[in-house]
Amino acid sequence: MAIDIYDFTGMTSAIHESLSAVLSPAATTIVEMTIIGIVFILFYALVGLFLVYAERKVCAFIQCRLGPRRVGPRGIFQTIADFIKLLMKELLMTKNADKFLFNLAPFIVIIASFMAIGAMPFAKGLHALDFDIGILYVLAVSGIGVIGILLAGWSSNNKYSLIGALRSGAQIVSYELSVGMALMTIIIFAGSMQLSEIVASQANGWWLFKGHIPAIIAFVIFMIASTAETNRGPFDLAEAESELVAGFHTEYSGIKFAFFFLAEYMNMFVVAAFGATVFLGAWMPFHISEMIPYAEYFNMGMDFIPGFIWFFGKTGMLILLMMWFKWTFPRLRIDQLLTLEWKYLLPINLVNIVITAFFVLTGFHF
């Protein structure tokens, strides 16, 4: 069992109590909200900047390059410099664009990713939104993002953008199913849709290992489908630069473009964090079976590593995997993309759910 040496519950409740001691309940809520808001904005910006930097470094190393090196030591401030540059760029809009929707699209994309990030269990006690239908909530909210992409593509009044947007529509519509069904296997195992309960159910082993073959299949499908959902290569058809120049965000410039860019990375983080939560036990440390000699010492050592490091470590590994996909594979064509979903992932998924149910029924899992 995990020893709670890095429990944040005490800290959060202490803040809550000290605030309500001096303030009225309503004021307490407002102050707390403000704190959470500021923390999340900072966190969001930090993750975004780091991911952009990480992607550039990863792709550089894969491509026998050095990557950014000029701004700051090893180029770590490169993305900040890029952000400032993008902020200082003129916002352009084509004269034929639908102005309201054109401006609305980046808001929708960012808000969707923001709301999804709120539901991530970063560590014990650090969990802003913990609904009892947490999985469904994350699925629903991350599905909103595509509306932003569709709007962006349509309102630009550009043929490339329109094709890109419609591609992305067909793509998300298909892969939403696989993501949902892959998660369903874990819901069957865990018997709950609340993220904190799913995490708690993995205290003595992650579902990826506990869940046997069905969980591994579900994990693979989840990784493929969620890569597709975030519009990342090899599924980046919506912005396929060799065909559609930049797809749905062809007409966006400056900071508005930056938000689409940021949203893609944040969605990648959400998806990876979600995968880490559901399949790899979020902040739960890695434990080995008690049958192995000296396992308890090993497990204690693992417990000593703080939960949020586990969480970010797992998320980072999944993000690295997604980056690795992107920089290795050619892009799929739209009909192949749909074939992959409807002829391979979906049938396999349906069968996998039945197998999972059978495993749970017979108790044939750890």
């Binding site: 190393f61 894969i62 491509q63 026998c64 390059r65 050095l66 690795w324 920089w327 290795t328």
Partner: protein
């Protein structure tokens, strides 16, 4: 049944081929020694071009400020783009009027580095330099006079 076996073998081969590709990129991700790019402006000190690199046309001068150009105009005639203009003056040596070079004007902006001027020069007065950093703000400054001011014709060159 055959179709189902085909279906699963397709999946298997697809995954296998994808993993093969990922192994290649994964190898380079971890082997930083394979990185081939250079950091160009910082490595100026160590950057060495091959000696034959055609960067610009030069007229080598000796220490005593002598060049070999007689002003014959063969390079001007051979240049396909008109990048070379030769202006000559007359000099009186021993009572005889003699044609010498006044200005050997070279338009770097028009040069395509075909090498015909260097090749056809009868007195080997021209050579290629290795400098490749020609970016300037003003197009006029790419027009160069190759013979240095006050330079004279090397005595060894036959007319």
């Amino acid at each position: 049944m055959k179709e189902i076996i085909q279906y699963f073998s397709d999946v298997f081969h697809a995954v296998k081929s994808l993993l093969t590709g990922m192994r290649v990129t994964g190898y380079y991700f971890f082997h930083h020694k394979e990185i081939v790019t250079q950091e160009y402006p910082e490595n100026r000190a160590t950057l060495k071009m091959f000696e034959r690199f055609k960067g610009e046309v030069l007229m080598p001068h000796t220490e005593s400020n002598e060049h070999k150009c007689t002003g014959c105009g063969i390079c001007e005639m051979n240049c396909p783009n008109g990048s070379i203009e030769i202006l000559t003056t007359f000099e009186t040596v021993d009572g005889k009027k003699k044609k010498i070079i006044d200005k050997h004007i070279y338009h770097l902006s028009m040069c395509t580095f075909c090498g015909l001027c260097v090749k056809t020069c009868p007195s080997d007065a021209l050579a290629f330099g290795n400098d490749f950093e020609h970016a300037v703000f003003d197009r006029q400054s790419l027009t160069k006079v190759l013979n240095k001011p006050g330079s004279t014709l090397n005595k060894e060159v036959k007319e």
